[in-house]
């Protein structure tokens, strides 16, 4: 355990000096505040408190930003050690590869949690300032924080896996960008195209829920919208969120980090220094 903690402390210090902590926190705070200001309009129509509406907007933001920050922090984790030539020495120490990854994960997850908490916290403060009844939205906010951290862990694990597979930082960066585009942007577009062409047939009713649950970003969105009961404010996904039971999206959100990290450890074990 002390080996994991020491690795985490070192990784956190490196991230702090490379300005990753500052960049992640600033990114989340700026975007969350912009959303809090812009999301003020629909309150009257929905009849929900200000914070619940903002949580719905933050969900859409987190789906893009959290995976991006996670991949940016993780793509260099193993490929960078290979390129700097620090990996062979590290692997002669009495520390297992899983422990090395656990230490890195702990540090990166701490940074991500810090960024998410700062961003959502700023938005929440803005919500309370505009609408004192916002306390009703607090459970939704806490759910959003927790599921954002799990979403981040999923993409951190995927980033480590890609980093181990690529073995070069430039290659790992390319793969990470590809994964982000594929999982967060293109996946939904393809599903949308299929649903439109299917016209409400078997594909839409049978396969779509599984397709949404199979993608950690979509499962995250479903979980937060279904749980928040404010899906009307987020539009689009609202129908799907209502059709899929909450426990299913919760399970997907909780299982993905485990799966991604197991894959990352397996990929790291295959790296020969």
């Amino acid at each position: 355990m002390s080996r994991i903690l020491s690795t985490a402390a070192v990784e956190f210090r490196i991230a702090l000096r490379n300005r990753w902590v500052a960049i992640a926190v600033a990114l989340m705070v700026v975007f969350a505040l912009v959303l809090a200001a812009a999301g003020a309009a629909p309150t009257g129509d929905v009849g929900a408190d200000r914070l619940s509406v903002i949580v719905a907007s933050l969900t859409s933001l987190a789906v893009y930003l959290v995976p991006l920050i996670a991949l940016l922090m993780s793509f260099d984790a193993i490929a960078g050690e290979v390129e700097r030539g620090t990996l062979p020495l590290l692997l002669t120490y009495p520390v297992s590869r899983a422990e090395v990854l656990a230490g890195k994960l702990l540090a990166h997850l701490a940074i991500l949690t810090l960024a998410v908490a700062a961003g959502y916290g700023a938005a929440a403060v803005a919500a309370f300032w505009m609408d004192p009844a916002s306390a009703a939205g607090l459970p939704a906010l806490l759910r959003l924080v927790a599921s954002s951290v799990l979403l981040g862990a999923t993409f951190l694990g995927m980033g480590y896996g890609l980093s181990a597979l690529a073995r070069r930082p430039s290659g790992a960066a390319g793969l990470a960008v590809g994964l982000w585009l594929g999982a967060v942007v293109l996946y939904d577009l393809v599903l949308l195209a299929l649903v439109v062409s299917d016209g409400g047939g078997a594909l839409t009713t049978q396969a779509l829920p599984f397709a949404l649950l199979a993608n950690p970003a979509d499962a995250f969105r479903l979980f937060n919208l279904a749980a928040a009961q404010a899906s009307a404010a987020a539009g689009g996904m609202g129908g799907a969120a209502a059709a899929i039971p909450l426990w299913q999206s919760a399970l997907s959100v909780a299982l993905w980090p485990v799966l991604a990290l197991a894959l990352a450890v397996a990929a790291f074990r295959k790296v020969t220094p």
Partner: protein, 298 residues
């Protein structure tokens, strides 16, 4: 007492190329062993196999009684890679504290370790600002952590100035006296001759020779060079008396003779009245090294 490192009939192939072929050796506790070979001879490959970083094809390797790379072996083996590298954003002290934690030692020893390699003055500076020699010292400091039973050093003195080299070998002597077995690689026989107990010469993945420097000298049986200075005006007479000698432009006569004939030849030369002086030049360390590393007509 059991050997710290035992290798028998080790063979390693890289996609068709034989990097190591049928290598057998042992390293005893407290022994300082130098592994010599030119680039690509298989030194680094052998070290990586001993450390468990890469697998091997056949043979047996036992490190401190365990399989290479196993948790038991890693706990007792320290390594200094060629061109030791560290994260540039960390200070020397932070890096060593981390390595101490990974070995289950107290991080507070970091400054003391850095002082042992003469780096305590730069402990609070980032490694990114260090020179190559300073990074090499950080590498050495981490190799001293705990009390390793086997120290594997890949060209440890590259990048060190002559004074640092002497300090470095003094550190090794102290460790060896405490029972640590040391395996270090080098390009130069001249550097390791006085500082190691045994020398292994590796060439094209095969172990060509092993033993003390005296053993190698004997086994190589290289000719001894003798240089004779004639008395004034006696050069022509001397040249006829020594028909096998060559005359160089320096006015002296030069001849080579086998180790076994040395005394007989010297007796003959010293018996000649035309000789003013003579010098016996034994084969140099470079000659011995190239004799072993370039056998098989290369």
């Amino acid at each position: 007492m059991t050997s710290t490192l035992t290798i028998s009939r080790l063979t390693k192939r890289f996609t068709g190329v034989e990097a190591l072929c049928d290598v057998s050796l042992t390293v005893e506790p407290g022994q300082r062993v130098a592994l010599l070979g030119h680039n690509g001879a298989g030194k680094s490959t052998m070290m990586k196999i001993i450390l468990g970083l890469i697998p091997f094809d056949s043979g047996e390797v036992t490190v401190c009684g365990a399989a290479p790379g196993s948790a038991a072996a890693r706990a007792q083996v320290a390594y200094l890679p060629e061109n030791a590298a560290f994260h540039p954003a960390l200070t020397g002290e932070e890096q060593i504290r981390h390595y101490l934690s990974l070995r289950g030692e107290k991080p507070a020893q970091a400054l003391e370790l850095l002082a042992r390699v003469g780096l305590d003055h730069a402990a609070k500076r980032r490694i990114g600002t260090y020179s190559k020699g300073m990074r090499q010292r950080v590498g050495l400091a981490q190799a001293l952590i705990g009390k390793p039973r086997l120290l594997v050093l890949d060209e440890p003195t590259s990048g060190l100035d002559p004074v640092s080299r002497r300090d470095f070998y003094a550190l090794l002597d102290g460790l060896a006296a405490g029972g640590t077995a040391i395996l270090l690689s080098s390009h130069a026989l001249t550097e390791v001759e006085a500082r190691t107990d045994r020398i292994l010469i590796l060439s094209d993945g095969r172990l060509r020779a092993q033993g003390t420097l005296a053993d190698l000298r004997r086994a190589a049986a290289l000719p001894v060079a003798i240089s004779v200075a004639p008395a004034p005006g006696q050069k022509e007479v001397l040249a006829t008396a020594l028909p096998m000698a060559r005359a160089n432009g320096d006015g002296r006569l030069h001849l080579d003779c086998a180790q076994g004939d040395k005394l007989a030849v010297l007796a003959r030369i010293t018996g000649l009245p035309q000789v003013a002086d003579l010098e016996v030049i034994p084969p140099s360390l470079e000659d011995i090294y190239s004799h072993f590393s370039q056998r098989d007509g290369q």
